[in-house]
């Protein structure tokens, strides 16, 4: 579904992605973790070309991203993206946040789009908020709406860029639950997160990144119990018991 072949990217002199090779199959849930600045956000942002790559090949859903004939807008419609800061449209109601893309891109009649959006809101448990504005919602609710918005185009892939990092602790659970349900429904997902509980329970594979490279790639049980790389051991220690 997604294949990185020797992908490099630079921000000026900073080598953010240094020879990435990665293959994510359809229906797979991959958790990406690593210290800040390791390139994990950049990694998933290249998949829908929010960040274009500088070198190497990147295939998404059968198309190569550097192909000049590729229609990036059409590809992006197949990929849902959930941001750390939610990025809901503040001037639109919850319902319109979700229906905007289907109405404008697929020419879905507003009534039908509204029904589909309502069904998505039901899935994330927020039907009663359909007419509210984003600023009237809590962080956890906003993020769940953002997930519903990401699903509105019926994407094949969902990408999550630290979806719970901007949330108060008591709201993290509700968002992770929605993501877990989504994973169980068979969605292909790449999740950048430090929620190790989620990784352990839901992920098929955990990827550990540092300095723009993938240092470790393993099923969660193996990664958590027996990380091979020294850097990964340190990271896990810090994240699981930050006081020591």
């Amino acid at each position: 579904m997604i294949r990185f072949e020797g992908v490099h990217k630079w921000f000026g002199k900073l080598h953010v992605l240094n020879g990435i090779n990665l293959h994510v199959r359809a229906g797979e849930v991959v958790v990406v973790c690593g210290p800040s600045g390791s390139g994990k956000s950049t990694l998933i942002r290249t998949i829908n070309e929010l960040e274009p790559i500088d070198e190497g090949k990147l295939f998404v859903d059968g198309t190569e991203l550097s192909d000049p004939k590729m229609n990036i807008n059409r590809l992006r419609a197949e990929i849902g993206f959930v941001f750390q800061q939610f990025n809901l449209y503040p001037h639109l109601s919850v319902l319109k946040n979700i229906t905007l893309a289907p109405i404008k891109i697929r020419n879905t009649p507003p009534k039908e789009a509204g029904e589909q959006a309502t069904a998505l809101l039901e899935r994330v448990g927020l039907v009663d908020k359909r007419d509210a504005y984003p600023s009237q919602l809590s962080g956890g609710q906003q993020q769940r709406v953002a997930i519903a918005r990401g699903l509105a185009m019926k994407p094949k892939i969902m990408l999550f860029d630290e979806p719970t990092s901007a949330l108060d602790p008591e709201m993290i659970g509700e968002v992770l639950q929605v993501m877990k349900d989504l994973a169980l429904s068979g969605m292909t997902m790449i999740v950048v997160t430090h929620e190790m509980g989620f990784a352990r329970e839901v992920a098929h594979r955990v990827i550990f990144m540092d300095n723009g490279t993938i240092l470790e790639e393993a099923p969660p049980e193996e990664f958590f119990i027996n990380p091979r790389h020294e850097r990964a051991k340190q990271f896990l220690k810090q994240i699981l018991s930050p006081m020591h």
């Binding site: 992006r76 197949e78 941001f83 800061q85 504005y133 600023s135």
Partner: protein
């Protein structure tokens, strides 16, 4: 008589102040001032929007070209722009436009270039996550601009727009210099004719300008209050 002032000159010529020689002659006075202001307002809103969008274009040539135009006009006094329009346009177009349209063109060019800076700042002021979120759903850059960025940016721009437009209402008074018979022109004319009541006449038109600007400001405040999502923040 108010405090030694004699406003009878104003009272007796009220229709002239408000309508000019209309209906026997062309429209003038307050009506013409309003006409110039409203037409220029609509045109410079469009002009400012277009220039502003060009100045944030991803195409460098368009971006630099529009910025050059904006900076040039912004670097000139309005009176200069009016003179240019008045003397240059007829030379270029042969016979030229009516004086009214000369003024409208000058005001539009001038105000558009200021407005474009407001538009540019408004667009750049929207967090970049909004554009990213919009294109991530598959919207094109243009669609994202139309449905996500501009609606937010325009609402943030309302106070600056109003500021610019209030100053344009007053700028219409410069039209008197090329003989357009708007309010200031009529006041000067009246003053030259009677010679005795400059204080009364100019006090009167000052009040009229104030009322127009105040009414416009209030109208826009009301519009601003009406946008639902602002209320909810």
């Amino acid at each position: 008589m108010v405090g030694g002032l004699d406003f009878s000159v104003v009272r007796e010529n009220l229709p002239y102040f408000f309508l000019g020689r209309y209906p026997k002659g062309p429209l003038g006075g307050v009506a013409l001032t309003l006409y110039l202001a409203v037409v220029s307002l609509v045109l410079s809103f469009l002009g400012g929007l277009i220039l502003g969008l060009l100045s944030v274009s991803r195409n460098r040539l368009i971006k630099w070209g529009s910025t050059a135009v904006i900076q040039t006009i912004r670097g000139m006094p309005l009176l200069m722009v009016i003179f240019w329009m008045f003397f240059l346009l007829p030379a270029m177009l042969g016979s030229g436009m009516s004086a009214d349209w000369t003024i409208i063109t000058a005001l539009t060019l001038f105000t558009s270039s200021y407005m474009s800076e407001i538009v540019r700042a408004g667009i750049l002021g929207i967090p970049k996550g909004q554009m990213e979120a919009a294109v991530s759903t598959g919207l094109s850059h243009k669609q994202a601009m139309t449905y996500v960025i501009l609606p937010q940016a325009l609402r943030n721009m309302i106070p600056s727009f109003v500021n610019q437009f209030v100053s344009m209402i007053k700028d219409t008074s410069l039209a008197f210099i090329v003989g357009v018979s708007e309010l200031t022109h009529i006041a000067t004319q009246m003053n030259n004719r009677t010679m005795l009541y400059p204080t009364e006449i100019f006090l009167f038109i000052a009040v009229i300008y104030f009322i127009m600007c105040f009414a416009f400001t209030e109208l826009s405040r009301w519009l601003e209050r009406r946008s639902a999502w602002r209320k909810s923040i």
